[in-house]
Structure formats: C-alpha cells, structure tokens
Symmetry: C2
Subunit: 240 residues, 2 copies
C-alpha cells in the first residue's frame, strides 16, 4: 500500500514528493539529520550527499528549519493515521488507549511503504529533537502558518480516545500532549540519560518497550480513572 500525506503546503516552496530530487532531499535529509544532529546539518552537506547543489535544495525548502518542520509534520500525520488504523473496530475504551500508547511508542506500520521515508530513523529524530519544531521564538508566527495543525489534530484524536474512557476528565488535551512528549523523552533518556528514567533501553525488540508501555499505561489510565474514596480524603493543604 502506498500512502501520501498532504503535509502543510506552507512548509515547502516546491512539493518534494512531486520530483525525484525532492524525494532524495527527504530521504537524505532524514539520514543526515540523524547522523549529524539538527544543529550540525546543513544544505551544503545535503546537496553533496545527493549529488546536487545548494541552490537546487533551496528551491524546495526555504531553509533547514522548514525542511525539519516538514519532516516532523510528516511524522505527526503518519502517527495519526496509524492510530486510526490501530483503533478502528475496537470498542473497549481501555484497549483503545492501549493501542494508542503502543502506536505512539512504536514506529512501524504494516503493509505500508513510503520508499523515501525511513520511519524508524524519523522516529528517532523526533524523539531526540522533535520538540525543537515549536520550542523557539518564532512559534507564534509559524503557528499562524499552520505548521502545528498536524500536532494539534493528533492531540485532539488522542484526547478523544481518553474522553471515551472517562468523559468527565478535565485535562484530556494536556494528557495527550503529555503522552507524546513523555514517550519520546523516555525513549531518548533510556539511551542517553538513563538516570532521568526507570525504563530500560533494550536492543531486544520483543521486550524493548515493555517498561515504557507499562509506565505510560499506568500514567494515563490512573489519571483518567476516577479516584476512590480512600484517595480523595487526603488532607487539603493551603499552598503558599
């Protein structure tokens, strides 16, 4: 199955999916950002890698930040689609939540092939530096361009699943963004800053994310579950 997202048109000058060079820019861009990190990646390296020129690359993306936004948007759209596929025909809200968590953790989609996007590498990039897409000074301007619509839609979709489990819950969107961010952080921490997490990084892909799933599931389900009488009777404290 071939899929084609409509990534926000404001992110590119010329649709990279429409040409061979454009697809090369995407696939080599992913590889090089993974290899060098976003700060050390530039269009010179990219154009050399694909045997082209800087000016040709600039015809597709205004600068590397826009290319990065494009890729992160692609990831958000792709994750959103995978959640839809994973939760379709499932009725039990708890199972639905488990499927969502599993989808956010993993980076595979059965029967789908996008030859110019390596989803596993892209997921690693997003876990490492995806938050740079919006953690900067120009966020308000880029928000007006719609650069974060895909992220918002993804959060909306997840928060709706949460509300199916508990329609009374007051913070579904915060919990949705929390799920995504905490998931990515713990994947990253487990590999690079293990003292900031309890979930272990394992190369054995069968048990790789077992702890992470358990941790996220308890975080989400417990938050959504109404407190029992035992818990709400803790003493109330005046703060400050």
């Amino acid at each position: 199955m071939a899929i084609n997202f409509k990534v926000n048109v404001n992110t590119f000058l010329k649709d990279p999916v429409s040409t061979d060079l454009g697809k090369k820019i995407l696939s080599a861009g992913i590889r090089l950002i993974d290899e060098h990190g976003l700060e050390d990646f530039n269009f010179k390296k990219l154009s050399q890698e694909i045997g082209s020129t800087e000016s040709s690359v600039y015809r597709y993306f205004e600068n590397k930040h826009y290319l990065f936004i494009y890729l992160v948007n692609w990831y958000w759209e792709w994750t959103s689609m995978r959640i839809s596929l994973a939760t379709i025909n499932i009725d039990d809200p708890k199972v639905k939540i488990q499927k969502v968590i599993k989808t956010v953790i993993e980076s595979t989609m059965a029967n789908v092939d996008v030859p110019f996007i390596d989803e596993e590498i892209l997921h690693r990039i997003v876990a490492r530096e995806g938050s740079k897409a919006y953690h900067h000074k120009l966020v308000d301007k880029e928000n007006q361009y719609g650069f974060f619509l895909a992220y918002k839609a993804l959060c909306k979709k997840i928060s709706n699943v949460f509300l199916e489990f508990n329609p009374e819950y007051k913070y579904p969107k915060s919990l949705a963004s929390t799920l995504i961010e905490v998931c990515n952080n713990n994947i990253y921490f487990s590999k690079h800053l293990p003292r900031l997490t309890d979930v272990e990084f394992s190369k054995d892909s069968d048990v790789k994310h077992e702890h992470l799933f358990e941790m996220l599931e308890s975080l989400i389900i417990n938050s959504l579950t109404k407190k029992s009488k035992n818990n709400i009777n803790h003493p109330k404290v005046k703060l400050s």
Copy 2:
C-alpha cells in the same frame, strides 16, 4: 540572603560570578536569550549590549551553548534548593508532593536575592527552550562532562519524595522528569499553542497556575496511588 551555587565548572572557562563582566554576561545573556530566542542570540549582540567585546565574552564561555548550559544548570540548582526549602519540616508525603509541584510551577524564592539573575525570565527561557540543553547530538559527550548532573540530582530529589508517598512505585524517576517537562510544556503551550493543553494562561497571578497545579497534582498522585480493585480488573489485552 545571598546565595551562590557552584555551577558545574566544566561549563565555563572563567567563573562568571567572580567578576563584574562575568555577572553582566549572565544577566544580559538571560535578557537577550529571552528577547531573541536561543537561535538568534549570539555573543556579538551580547557584547554590544554590555559594552564589551566578543573576545572578552569568549574568555568566560566557549560558545553560546555552554553559556546556555550554565544558565539551565543554574535553574536546576536553584529549583532543587527551593524544593529543599519548601519541603523541610513537612511530614505528610502528599503535602510534600504538593509543595514540590508548586515549586516547579513557580519561579519565586522568598528572601533570596541574586542580583545578576532574573529568575522569572530564566524560568520563561527554560520553559521555552530548556530541553535544548540535552536534545542534541553531542548529549553523550556533554553528559560525560557532567553537564546534566544538576538535572539528575533534581530528578532524584523529586523521585525520593514520590517514594515517600508510595515506596512500591516502579517509575519514580520517569515520573519526576515527567513532572518537570510536562509543567514547562504546559506553561509554554498555554501561551503559544493552547490547543495542546487544557490549562489556561492567565495574567492574574493569583489564579495563573491553578489549573496547571490541579492537572499535575492529579497526574502525579493518581499515578502513585495504588489502584483499587475496580481498576485492576479491567480486561487484559494482548498487544500485537
């Protein structure tokens, strides 16, 4: 009361607290990073702002990333100290957790004056782009230099408070880093990407963080609270 942290000596070439110029670098650095954002901030702007030269600034910090690391470390140390002060002499573990949450949300410390650090601006910078301190390709090298020891110590301190509430809880460190990151994210989202959160940004400082506190409290306390029988009997599902 004057305080003086020992920020990791590997972050600077010459201790900025030891001279007037160094203190100017810190205070103007905070102001300019807030104003321009980290990407658009540089040592030329900084040196002009304080009426000095680039080369003088370079004598204190190897580059702007190291200055940034210094400032974020300062924030972590400062938050750690505030947590200690806020939880001292408090026995009820739940109240302790509430104090921790409140401390992480806010950026004030009574009776303490560090004239060259504007803590409110620094907190805003950390909420906006603090995670850039470790979300990059050189994280492993910088981790060896001890750049993130203060963050790890902060997480350790918070996770110990969590364990007082529930010594059985399996993911205290993950929950601690989650608290910090989710707090900062929601402060930032409420102002810039409100669709990613349910907590509202308010200029009225009395109610400013009421929702955020409530959200974080429910997230933490519910995670730490052992599930009642009702909840653990949900059907178990085989995932993929």
